[in-house]
């Protein structure tokens, strides 16, 4: 136990940390999938010509973006049960982080939608395309291509924010490392390994996003 970095100990705790990593990656992927879809819906609703709707959505987005994720997951997990809405820690954590990041991605989409030239809307109108087809076939393929790098940023940011969920008893990677440390009073190995896993997985996510960006690049 007196070596600087105990490899035996590291090997011993590796399986538990790997399991926690997988768990964390799953939370991130489910949460981000929700954030991608919900963010798009919020961005489109915010462009609505119905003033109350666009203002209401704008208010919700600004509210969620301007309050800490920690408070939001606390509300979901500890406050909502008072009003009869009970969720498991995992559900509350995933929903919380997804909602929080949906508001960020909605701003990214908004920038992407604003970046599509007005002439594209006009051409779609002149061809009598339906509003649905105008969005799905003409505007979004251009808007989303332009913001893939920014969305990728938020994927990594979201992954690195998962330790916040430990506050509501979700045992993600960081919490698992802390638990191991408090059992043995050796924190160096679990915390270092958790950090390394975060690094490796973040870099992998970033690479995957870059590859997607490259594959969707237009000639």
């Amino acid at each position: 136990m007196n070596s600087f970095f105990d490899l035996h100990y590291a090997a011993h705790i590796l399986p538990a940390l790997l399991r926690a990593s997988l768990y964390t990656v799953l939370i991130t992927m489910v949460g981000f999938a929700i954030a991608l879809v919900l963010g798009l819906v919020l961005a489109i609703l915010r462009r609505s010509h119905l003033k109350p709707l666009s203002r209401g959505v704008g208010f919700v987005v600004e509210f969620i973006r301007s309050t800490p994720l920690l408070i939001q997951v606390y509300v979901l997990f500890y406050v909502l049960p008072v009003y009869g809405i009970t969720m498991s820690a995992l559900t509350a954590g995933t929903v919380g982080i997804a909602l929080h990041y949906a508001c960020y991605t909605s701003e990214v989409y908004r920038a992407g939608l604003n970046g599509v030239a007005r002439g594209q809307w006009e051409a779609a109108c002149a061809l009598s395309l339906s509003p649905w087809r105008t969005y799905s076939g003409v505007i979004l393929p251009q808007a989303i291509r332009a913001v893939i790098p920014a969305l990728g940023n938020y994927l990594v940011a979201m992954f690195k924010d998962t330790p916040v969920l430990s506050a509501i008893t979700v045992v993600e990677l960081m919490q698992q490392a802390k638990n191991i440390g408090s059992e043995t009073f050796r924190y160096l190995e679990p915390i270092t390994m958790a950090g390394l896993f975060f690094l490796l997985i973040s870099v992998t996510f970033a690479q995957l996003v870059r590859r997607l960006e490259f594959r969707l690049r237009l000639p």
Binding site: A117, G119, A123, A126, V138, L218
Partner: protein
């Protein structure tokens, strides 16, 4: 190139002679009661007004365009030329007045004998009789030339992919681009992009084609190929055409009628021969002189 044999067809201005609409009694502007449908003009603007804020861009404009007539619209910038096309394409809503296309009200519909603002469905149906080509092409950059051309027929007219593709290939070969079907807009020259845009608009089988300064963004060298396509469309197909243009030579040679716009009104109109040889208004003479000096 199966259409190669039919090129150089001499232009036959076969549109019916228009009645002089200029001196019409302003009182009958609002009487939009439909006359005989068969003789109805293809497009009728009646008292059309368009304001952007305090700025009046079209000022109680009356204009009738006969079937298959080719009308060139010229005038200084800011005179409302492009706005005329934009309100006809329903890209901008009207401030006042009515537009009829093919005997049907465009931005309004008849309901219990009254004109009410058109529903979205009515608007889409009547609008699909009109095709528009833009100064900045506005091709969809993420679609090939072919995909650009089949998009609307498949999505709006519910054509099968095969039907739409067959027709799109015909149209792309009509504009001389049969070998560019699989190219993306960024891989085409400006003139080629504009010809794809023409094919894309034609794919919807419009009765009226609007050309909004379609050669203004092109090198002089590339203008010719686009104008040649428009020339052929005019001579070989039954299309009503409205074109906003700065190409006076083309307007003179191609149009049946030239309308000179100034401050949201038609100041002067006539056949190209009359119009260019002896413009009546001082403003028109001044404009034509300025254009000639610029060349």
């Amino acid at each position: 190139m199966k259409t190669d044999t039919e090129t150089s067809t001499p232009l036959q201005p076969d549109a019916p002679v228009m009645e002089k609409e200029m001196n019409r009694d302003p009182a009958d502007v609002l009487s939009t009661a439909a006359g005989c449908e068969a003789e109805a003009p293809m497009v009728r603007f009646a008292g059309v007004t368009k304001c952007y804020g305090a700025l009046t861009v079209l000022d109680r404009l009356d204009l009738e365009i006969a079937r298959n007539e080719k009308v060139a619209i010229i005038g200084p910038s800011g005179s409302g030329k492009s706005t005329l096309l934009r309100v006809l394409m329903t890209l901008d809503p009207l401030t006042g007045g009515t537009i009829e296309v093919d005997g049907e009200p465009l931005t309004h519909m008849r309901k219990n004998g009254e004109l009410v603002p058109a529903s979205v469905r009515h608007l889409r149906r009547v609008r699909s009789k009109i095709g528009m080509v833009f100064q900045s092409f506005n091709l969809f950059p993420h679609m090939t030339a072919l995909a650009n051309t089949i998009e609307a027929p498949m999505r709006v007219h519910d054509l099968s992919r095969k039907e739409a593709t067959d027709r799109a290939r015909e149209l792309l070969s009509l504009v001389g681009l049969e070998d560019k079907c699989d190219h993306y807009p960024s891989q085409l020259s400006g003139g080629q992009q504009q010809r794809v845009a023409i094919a894309r608009a034609l794919a919807m089988r419009p009765k009226v084609m609007l050309f909004d300064e379609v050669t203004s963004a092109l090198d002089p060298e590339l203008c010719g190929e686009v104008l040649n396509v428009i020339r052929r469309l005019g001579s070989e197909h039954n299309l009503t055409m409205l074109m906003v243009t700065h190409q006076m030579g083309f307007a003179r040679e191609f149009a049946d009628r030239v309308c000179f716009f100034s401050e949201g009104k038609i100041l002067e109109q006539g056949t190209p021969q009359e119009f260019f040889a002896a413009p009546q208004h001082q403003r028109t003479q001044q404009f034509l002189r300025a254009v000639r000096e610029a060349i």
